[in-house]
């Protein structure tokens, strides 16, 4: 095996060891709470995944190889696949005793912050298992590999490549600090801080400590798992919903902006970002539209309640969190489809959100508008601008290419779901909810994937990883040119 693959194996091994640690907190909690059976499941799966990581790492620990850009893709994809596999272990051997495909789906859904689930009856599960699901979402929100770059000194060289292969959005070469490890630390620091703040807010607004922490873990990461089948309806508390709206919105903003705002102790930077402005505008327009639908059809009696619930669902969907308050898929008129389509747009680049990202959508829309203007004024010089600055032709091209490939994947996924036995509406919902990392779909997969075939579950798993790694990191591995030495 060449040096290159040994180096890749080494890093994947290290990251598996790191991700195996996620099983320790639930194991310890299970012990502390005196649960039956679960401690041994968590300790066992910790040991197994730890040993797999060590077995990958030890034989090649001394490899000395300078990573190239393309190696980052393989490492990141391998990491996500392996991490999903080993994270599935507790779901198989402990409650809820899922089958392997279902367990892998559940773990992937957690790590990719999708929030789709195969489990029905969350309220009966042991608390350690519930906590573990939330923890997976927290870990995947900012990214396993970025966490590894932040805390493992051996990834100092080549960290930039890994970072770029995992981070989201069209412009991946903006660093917050000169060194990549510092940037990764900064991002994780902001992420951790926001999650903590969110947990405290939930707690003070009336959740018990366990639920507050668990929901914070899946709110800022815009993931969407809950500890109750009814999710936020379990409390039906307006104040909790507003807190969730706030922190989901924050999770959908570029974490680079959060970092700069925190560093300079001023909110000014938020005002200067054009992507953020578009993001907030889209939320406002969609919230008003959905409110109108709900209010005019009399789904909710009061305008205030309709507005709150509409905003909650809009934010939950555009940030691809996927908390569903009220079974929105049965809302009247265009509301359900409109909400699901919002997930295509997603949040800002550099956030924890899935979807296409606002920046890309805005850029492509402006590019389209430019073409139209050019038809009217064939000789005119029109530019695509973002925030008053010209976007270079190559960025516009790569964004268009990304969106094209993304939608091709979407169509394949949707047709695949149809083949796997889902009806038309469910196939569409399933493809959207996995590729955008949204979670709840439409039709049969609106709340749970427990009833669909194994093939559909596997396709969903693939879709989630494709979506989280923004398609290219995975697809590049399928080209022969990548493997040519």
């Amino acid at each position: 095996m060449s040096q290159r693959f040994r180096a890749i194996q080494r890093i994947v091994g290290i990251i598996i060891v790191l991700s195996s640690l996620t099983k320790l907190p639930p194991a310890l909690l299970a012990l502390a709470w005196g649960e039956q059976g679960t401690p041994s499941v968590f300790f066992g799966s910790f040991l197994v995944s730890f040993l797999i990581g060590v077995a990958l790492w030890v034989p090649v620990r001394a490899v000395n190889y300078e990573m190239r850009l393309r190696d980052g893709f393989l490492i990141v994809t391998m990491t996500w696949v392996f991490a999903s596999l080993v994270s599935a272990l507790p779901f198989v051997h402990g409650p809820p005793h899922l089958s392997y495909p279902d367990a892998i789906f559940e773990a992937t859904s957690g790590l990719t912050t999708t929030g789709a689930t195969v489990i029905d009856g969350l309220d009966e599960l042991p608390r350690s298992v519930l906590f573990y699901r939330q923890l997976l979402q927290f870990l995947g929100g900012m990214g396993i590999v970025i966490l590894a770059v932040a805390i493992l000194p051996m990834l100092k060289i080549g960290g930039t490549q890994l970072f770029r292969a995992e981070s989201t959005g069209p412009t991946k070469d903006t660093k917050l600090t000169p060194r990549i490890a510092e940037t990764a630390k900064a991002l994780w620091g902001v992420y951790f801080g926001l999650t903590l703040l969110c947990a405290v807010s939930y707690w003070m607004a009336g959740m018990d400590l366990f639920d507050a922490v668990c929901h914070a873990l899946s709110t800022v990461s815009t993931a969407g798992f809950s500890t109750h089948d009814a999710a936020f309806d379990y409390w039906s508390s307006p104040i909790l919903e507003w807190i969730a709206i706030l922190f989901m919105t924050l999770g959908g903003i570029n974490f680079g902006l959060h970092f700069v705002a925190w560093r300079r102790a001023s909110m000014a930077v938020y005002g200067t970002d054009s992507e953020l402005r578009s993001y907030l505008r889209i939320i406002a327009v969609a919230a008003v539209l959905v409110t109108l639908v709900l209010w005019l059809t009399g789904t909710y009696a009061g305008g205030g309640e309709a507005f709150r619930i509409a905003t909650f669902q809009v934010v939950s969907n555009i940030t691809t969190t996927g908390f569903a308050v009220t079974g929105f898929n049965e809302w009247p008129g265009p509301a359900p489809l409109l909400l699901v389509v919002l997930a295509f747009i997603g949040g800002c680049s550099g956030s924890t959100v899935g979807g296409l990202k606002v920046a890309r959508v805005v850029m492509v829309v402006r590019q389209g508008y430019r073409e139209i203007k050019q038809l009217v004024h064939p000789k005119a010089q029109f530019l695509v601008k973002m925030g008053g600055r010209r976007v270079s032709e190559s960025v516009v091209l790569s964004v268009s290419g990304f969106i094209a490939i993304w939608f091709i994947c979407f169509v394949f996924l949707m047709v695949g779901m149809n083949f796997a036995g889902l009806d038309l509406e469910s196939s569409f919902g399933a493809a959207v909810s996995t590729l955008t990392n949204l979670g709840p779909g439409l039709g049969e997969v609106a709340t749970t994937w427990g009833t669909v075939s194994d093939t559909a579950v596997w396709l969903g798993t693939l879709g989630m990883i494709l979506g989280r790694l923004e398609v290219f990191s995975l697809l590049v591995l399928l080209t022969p040119a990548f493997w040519r030495e």
Binding site: L69, K175, P178, R179, S392
Partner: protein, 459 residues
Amino acid sequence: MKILILGAGQVGSSVASALASENNDITVVDTDHARLRELAEKLDIRTVVGHASLPNVLAQAGADEAELLVAVTSSDEVNLIACQVAQHQFRTPTRVARLREAQYLDVAALADPEHSAVSAAISPEQLVCRHVERLIEYPGALQVLDFADGRAQLVAVRAVPGGALVGHEIRELREHLPTGVDARVAAIFRKGKPVKPEGSTVIEVDDEVFFLADRKNILTVMSELRKVDPRPARRLLIAGGGNIGRNLARSLESRYSVKVLERSKERARGIAEDLINSIVLVGDCADEDLLREENIDQTDVYCAMTNDDEANILSAMLAKRMGCPRVISLINRPSYAELVEGGSIDIAVSPQLVTLGALLAHIREGAPARVYSLRRGAAEAIEAVVRGDRRTSQVIGRGLDELELPPATTIGGLVRGDKLLIAHHDVVIEPGDHVILFVMDKREIAQVSALFQTGATWL
């Protein structure tokens, strides 16, 4: 250390890559997007696209936090203004600028360093000129490095058959040398790999040997390693009348008979106006007939100093084949230098490495008196100043053999007052000594600098 580098040209890039591996936070500013991206792909640095002297670009690049600003854009004026802005608006403590124009240099040197915008000015052309001058002075030397204002020199020589010490152990050196003459072998590179010089190490043919000696003894010591031509160089041919070629001719024309070869007729006229004793020729440096016409076989040293690597290499090879005994060529690309040096070309001079060393002296923690970057940046020769007293310093009052040096580091000697003391085990370090170290593996530099750190710094 937080370092801001303005300009991602040859010097900027090589400074960035030399420093990025040493735990520094580096930000590089340039107007060329593509070049920055290429750099960011290779190195763990932040890049900012923009005009380097503009305050908002500097602010974006983190000038308010930077401890050191290195202005190496291609324009002297941009470098000066960037330093000015950094000084007044961002209070950047140290500002190093590259200045090509000699008049600016004079101004920069005259001004009080406390208040001047540029705290240290570096002129690559001048440095390269001086470097080449010293090489011409010592025929056979691959590199000549000054320490303690030229009192001591570290010279690199390739051992050839016929040198008295070649094939013998290093400890015999003292017996060979006349009384009063002393020298120390600081490093040996054999086939590109460092060999730690011990008393029992045998010098082999083709070894690259670095030795330290007093300036007046250099030629005596060199003769131990190769047959030294007793007749010093007389006739020089310099190809390329750019800044380097012209400055070189100007400073050498009083001592040597110099010919300058320049392609552009207009430029040649300008040079001719400037020079007094030299002959300025108009023509291509790869023109065989012209070289023969000008008696290349009678020329002692041929210096290819154009700004084009390929032209330099080819014309130097041509001159060598046509009978010129020594050819020196300016080569920017490290890979080219590795290919040709020692084979078809006697000496490859890398302007980047020469400049890098001068910059490193300002950048290294504790500001050593002098740093030379060697072997494409893999090794360094350092002149460290011993400061503090017995309590604050780890080295004062200790013999050289008592120091805990990392394995690939040797001490060549130390300069005390006006005298060079060659490193023998009985030499004891005193305050104010300038210790000359040779670090064969760059990774040990942090350790070495920690050793010489007093409570505060080196200087």
